[in-house]
Symmetry: C2
Subunit: 321 residues, 2 copies
């Protein structure tokens, strides 16, 4: 690769590359964002700066999406890709019952992608954030001889609700889920709506003891709650809500709808535990699918009350077109 | 690609893949981190949670490093790669004169990389963070059919020092730099030490009006200060400190050492402006290299006082082995 100076230097590493249009992109992004109260230094400096109310716990986490893993750039539009990575992070806020406060973003763009493609990614990111009043206050873009990869780091504030961990489930709790499961790969994994408001509403009326959002599949994610809580989780097979997409998935691969509901990933519904007596109060948002007992492990209970270990399979999928 | 169920589904997208060893890796990372005061929910939940002193502004930003752009995985050791991405973010803290508080990390690993490689990346990240009391409190790892990419999002706290923006330079200010420049590509770009403590010390004794860390090259980064401040920046050619690596670079490509000092990237020294009368007070950490005037643009001033526009070239380099 020729350097600007005409020299030749193997290996042809290129670094700090203001990609074609990077500075224009930053300018464009900045122009799209209205100043907001609380932001002291906005996007475009070395770091952004916020005022933070010390009464609020600060929650923080990061999720990435990778081309060929979480989306397929040959199939999915850039707006949908941008929205997905933001929504995954908003769903993490939901799982802690916090309110989104702000986000920072990275984009690694293939060199073949142009400024319009980057703007469309940003539009998807921003629209998803705006739906939950979560502005993008910083970021880093670069182009490379690699595939598309985006990250979002989200900041949340407790806003009067103690963060709900994975490890708080207790024997006697019920296990609840906020929606029907399975077959997300058919399209819902790109279009789900994070359960931020539902989490806040439920946490206000019930002592939720543990919560997680379903990204790795029910069988695996309920295992995270059981393991981190030091308890056993029992899922009632007949109680698991089956999404219509799980039935369509059965038509495609022959696996039962229940199998899809138990093991498919990226439902992004909330899975949580709370005293079973709160089932009626929680009914507007969630339904019971099992119970917590002393012990360890995850079990599936059939209609006759027989229990069998439920192994986590939700870790690898072929995606149909 | 075969699914676990034996089905075949083109395209062979794989998502939410607990990579070989991912859960073991998370466990290993968790085991390496002592609990710290202020962290309410640590790594391993949907989000981490921190207590935040409302007297502190919260600073946040993110930087990514990409294989073949910011490092070469065929040349650089994983510990050094992990250290670099953390140090880039710590250097952003330095540029705002804030104290690092915590970080979250993403790693996109090629499928060919194993658990030991991931551990070495983490060790480099952690060692660099530990040097500035900056724990890693969350992250996301995934493996893919792509190249290595890491991100660090850093949280900083103002801790009694107002964040120093890029846009505060005023006519009459001097321009200062904390170290010698040029030729970072020969190796320093992987091993620089972030000027966090220097920034705090300088901010305590001088009214620093604008600051940036030199990542894109002096000519480009001083342009960021000039543009965002609405002023002109004049660099005295004879005053620019030249690193020995810039002279070695001249031997390799024939470009003058001054050219390298002005245009090479990733020095990660601090470039800042302050009233020229503070030069003596700042001398332990920084030296003057120019001045701010009313107007706009960036100029190089020669020994005879003649000024010429200084165009930013620090945007693309061939890296020698």
């Amino acid at each position: 690769m020729k350097t600007p100076d005409g020299g030749e230097g193997p290996p042809p590493l290129v670094y700090n590359p203001p990609m074609v249009g990077e500075f224009q992109l930053i300018e464009w992004i900045r122009s799209r964002r209205a100043p907001r109260g609380g932001i002291v230094v906005d996007i475009g400096d070395d770091l952004a700066a916020l005022r933070w109310d010390g009464a609020d716990l600060l929650l923080v986490g990061v999720d990435q999406v990778l081309d060929g893993v979480h989306f397929d750039s040959a199939v999915h539009l850039p707006e949908a890709i941008g929205a997905k990575v933001m929504n995954r992070n908003l769903s993490d806020c939901a799982a802690m019952a916090c309110l989104p406060a702000a986000a920072v973003v990275t984009v690694a763009l293939p060199r073949t992608a142009g400024l319009d493609y980057a703007k469309a990614l940003d539009a998807g990111l921003r629209k998803a954030g705006d739906a939950f009043d979560c502005p993008i206050i910083g970021g880093d873009t670069a182009s490379w001889d690699g595939k598309l990869l985006l990250t979002v780091t989200i900041l949340g504030r407790s806003a009067g609700v103690a963060p709900i961990p994975r490890g708080g489930a207790k024997a006697g709790d019920g296990i609840f889920v906020t929606g029907a499961l399975g077959g997300s790969l058919l399209g819902r994994h790109m279009t789900f709506r994070p359960r931020v408001l539902e989490a806040r509403a439920m946490a206000a009326i019930a002592p939720i003891s543990a919560m997680i959002d379903l990204s790795d599949g029910l069988s695996r994610d309920v295992g995270h709650i059981a393991d981190q809580s030091g308890v056993a989780a029992l899922i009632e097979a007949d109680a698991v809500p089956i999404h219509a997409d799980a039935r369509e998935s059965e038509r495609r691969d022959g696996q039962s709808p229940l199998h899809h509901a138990l093991h498919d990933g990226e439902d992004h519904e909330l899975l949580f535990t709370a005293p079973a007596t709160f089932a009626a109060a929680l009914a507007p948002w969630a339904q019971p699918i099992g119970r917590i007992e002393a012990g360890s492990g995850v079990f599936l209970v059939d209609a006759d009350g027989r229990r069998a270990p439920l192994a986590p399979l939700g870790w690898q999928h072929g995606i149909g077109p």
